[in-house]
Symmetry: C2
Amino acid sequence: MKKFNVAIVGARGAVGKKVMELLVERNFPINKLKLLGSEEGSGIQIKFKDEDLITEQAGKGAFKGIDIAFFCVNKEISEKLAPIAIDEGCIVIDNSSCFRMNKEVPLIIPEINPHDIDFHKGIIANPNCSTIQMLVALKPIHDSYNIKRIVVSTYQSVSGSGKKAIDELNDQVKDYIAGNDISNSIYPYQISFNALPHIDDFIENGYTKEEMKMVNETKKILDKNIEVSATAVRIPVIKGHCESINIQTKKKIDPESVKELLSKFKGIKVLDDPLNNLYPIPITAEETDYVYVGRIRKDFTIKNGLNIWVVSDNLRKGAALNAIQIAELLIDRILKY
Amino acid sequence: MKKFNVAIVGARGAVGKKVMELLVERNFPINKLKLLGSEEGSGIQIKFKDEDLITEQAGKGAFKGIDIAFFCVNKEISEKLAPIAIDEGCIVIDNSSCFRMNKEVPLIIPEINPHDIDFHKGIIANPNCSTIQMLVALKPIHDSYNIKRIVVSTYQSVSGSGKKAIDELNDQVKDYIAGNDISNSIYPYQISFNALPHIDDFIENGYTKEEMKMVNETKKILDKNIEVSATAVRIPVIKGHCESINIQTKKKIDPESVKELLSKFKGIKVLDDPLNNLYPIPITAEETDYVYVGRIRKDFTIKNGLNIWVVSDNLRKGAALNAIQIAELLIDRILKY
């Protein structure tokens, strides 16, 4: 069985760490793992399986001999480093939003559009966390009933903003208990005991970039004819994003058939027995691979309307897991064992 | 100026306490205040202005000589005590859901349907917290543009479940910091660092009673032709409910005109300058009387679509303040000064 040389750029961040963890968990065919980061972040010892790896600076020469690099950094760093990596013969799986809407770059959710990977030119983009879990849940519904329009409101955890945001929430909660003043630096306001309708930057049309990612990535991945109206909100949860999704389909839809359809779809777990308090919640999704769907019910206010509630671990299926599944798909369809 | 004998039933709960506080703050024309509660809750000394009041047991005889009673208890207790109070000549302003949909009972938001109070037969119902803030925000929009359909997802604080729920969240956060196991009794799961798509009981159609309150109360208060599709979610916030609201109107609508319209409406404060991080959040709304509206933007996916984000203190405008405003309206229109 062929093994591959793999690099992680940004190995010490929340997503980078999760990629390392999942490479072991999924027994990914690794020959050599290289951990790359900033200049200040290099020279640090990190354990991987039985080895002690030392982080190295990402830059020219760092990607020579590497087959696949997981980029777990922001879009500015991705933009700078991806061309270098490609030049040195490496395939980049990029977690940032940098290349997602680039027509030359496939944007992949393996359960939805695996064959798009065949057209890659060195970069494969991993979609936004909120988009991934929404589209996994909606793919089987769209295939059967043809979705026209989506109205979605998100409930997103702080881990989506990285390790420092998790620390900020923890610190704020500690200060609250101690009766100290609460300070903030990652978010414009305290996130503890609060809710912020503000994820990523605002643009001129009044939406945030996060909201527009859900609009545009849905069109690129699932169907360009689907209209999405999104409101993205940060809440004081550590891991796991929730989404309240309202859809209208072209074909007649009923909740019972949808439940059955979703139950059969790979990667989805239906939790929907509300009278017994069974519905998806972040603490159930935490550290698991599934996209959980519940509260599946008819929207009585419109023809062919449906409401669902979707929860998933944003660091796993929303980021690291989907990136590794892309790498597995790449090996399966292109690099071959 | 005429003064009134007032009673608070459930004076030691979260809403009851807030009613007491607001009676002072608003300089309500009180002659005598009587604090009523359960048998176990009687005989307790509570300060009101310069007086030390002693709680008494609610029941037969307790409402004699009382003009207005604020009922801040659950619907079972309201159902039992309201007929007694009426019988003893007292007008009941009820915070529970017990009488809201009763055709003989006016359901009042003073900014919206003040004249409905004229038909009262002894009970006036205070609407659900989530309904009040949504309808205050939507009233001026409906008057100008005629709302056809609302899709709303809520982000509700624990104070909506009363004082014990605030204690439960605080205890859970303390246990989390101390590294102890987290226990729960008010909610079916931990609420700290979590989100529960479950407020009040589930009914057969898959919705919760909380969600159906938003549907039915909107029709009774604002317009029976408005369709509401609701998802109600509890999040770990102490005070202040948020709502992500998507509407479609019959008339052509544009965000700038809506912003102007809302700015002029009594009880609303528009906070909408996202590029300067200005949007409503729970910690801004806490302990204030306004319904805050922001993120006012066109929904590009539908004809005459609009998205808004609404936040208000659920114990104030969502409960105690609206109840007192009903009492003020009652004095103004019926009891007279």
